[in-house]
Amino acid sequence: MHELSIAATVVEDVLGFAEARGIGKVVCVRLAIGELTCVQTEQLKFCYESVTRETALADSQLDIESVPACVKCANCNYEGPPKYWMDSLSEAPVPTLQCPECGKATEAARGHECAIKSIQYAA
């Protein structure tokens, strides 16, 4: 449940921003979560609800945008979506770091995001 520590960080940081900028009511917090992180959206929402209770963020909404992975291959210069691992046992396709073109190891250029993208507030 690292989602709990992430939710706690969201609350701490948003409350900090709100105070620093004199924002009264935060209506919505938007997060960007990369496909290559192991952050579960539903768990994060649940944790957010729990940790915002009795804070100034209590009625705020949490929107989570998923950031698709992008990989770069140093061998064949491929740049784009990763190769997915899918077989009869798979519940969902698993992103890999294998190059979809040449099969060599790639580096993830995108997909590790775990960030507050924006906050929406009422003046």
């Binding site: 969201v10 919505c28 992180t37 929107d63 698993v94 770091l97 294998q98 060599k104 190891a105």
Partner: protein, 236 residues
């Protein structure tokens, strides 16, 4: 941008009174920053730290014990032992006469850079070349929290069944070395070690995988050789 998902029951401000601030603020940055500081401190002392991750019961502690046996004569070694509450593992390794720091996360499911930073303050860095950091037994949560180590090693054992790699892809995508442990039990468990190796390579083709057994000693010298720091390569 106006919020298009009308899920929240009561929002009192009217749309024209709602404002957006773009932040692009990383939630993992606080940990990452401390991890970089840890790394800088380690580099300054020419110390290699290895973050050892794996499920509960994968054999991390036993493996660390075997590696300490092999490495303590060659270099200054310390072990940081992340455990939610129990100190039994710490004592087991401390009996080998190397400095051991227990990092109790209480209910935390992963170590973080801050805890490791505190542990670094409690050992004599000038007498060390290698720190083995045993993370909390968990194959998911530690993935997002770098500690400042030079490399990350994942220990997976055949007793965890044939699907462990596939079930926990993130841990392997971020690893630098994988140990497949308890290979002496592969036959009893009807688990094919080659299959686990293939699974790792499906996820990350260039990842080094070493099948090992703490019982027979297979693979242990190879792992120890990889971890043994090259003193000549100490940072400028």
């Amino acid at each position: 941008m106006i919020n298009t998902q009308p899920m929240t029951p009561v929002i009192e401000a009217k749309p024209e009174e709602i404002y957006d601030i773009e932040l692009e603020h990383s939630l993992l940055e606080a940990n990452a920053k401390i991890a970089r500081a840890n790394r800088a401190l380690l580099d300054e002392h020419g110390i290699t730290a290895v973050d050892i991750m794996g499920a509960i019961g994968s054999g991390k502690t036993t493996l660390i014990g075997r590696l300490v046996e092999r490495l303590k004569i060659k270099c200054g070694i310390a072990v940081f032992n992340g455990d939610a509450t129990v100190a039994a593992d710490t004592e087991l390794i401390a009996s080998q006469g190397v400095p051991v720091v227990q990092i109790a996360t209480v209910n935390g499911c992963h170590l973080d850079a801050n805890l490791v930073g505190k542990a670094l303050k409690s050992v004599k860095l000038t007498s060390l070349d290698l720190i083995l950091i045993e993370n909390i037994g968990n194959l998911i949560c530690p993935a997002e929290f770098p500690l400042g180590s030079r490399s990350r090693m994942v220990v997976v054992s055949v007793t965890e069944g044939p699907w462990m790699v596939k079930k926990h892809p993130h841990m392997f995508l971020g690893a630098d070395l994988v140990v497949i442990n308890k290979t002496d039990l592969a036959e009893v468990m009807s688990v094919r070690v080659e299959q686990l190796v293939n699974d790792v390579h499906t996820l990350k083709p260039d990842l080094r995988v070493i099948p090992a057994s703490c019982k027979t000693g297979a693979g242990l010298d190879e792992i120890a050789a990889l971890l043994a720091p090259e003193k000549a390569a100490a940072n400028a």
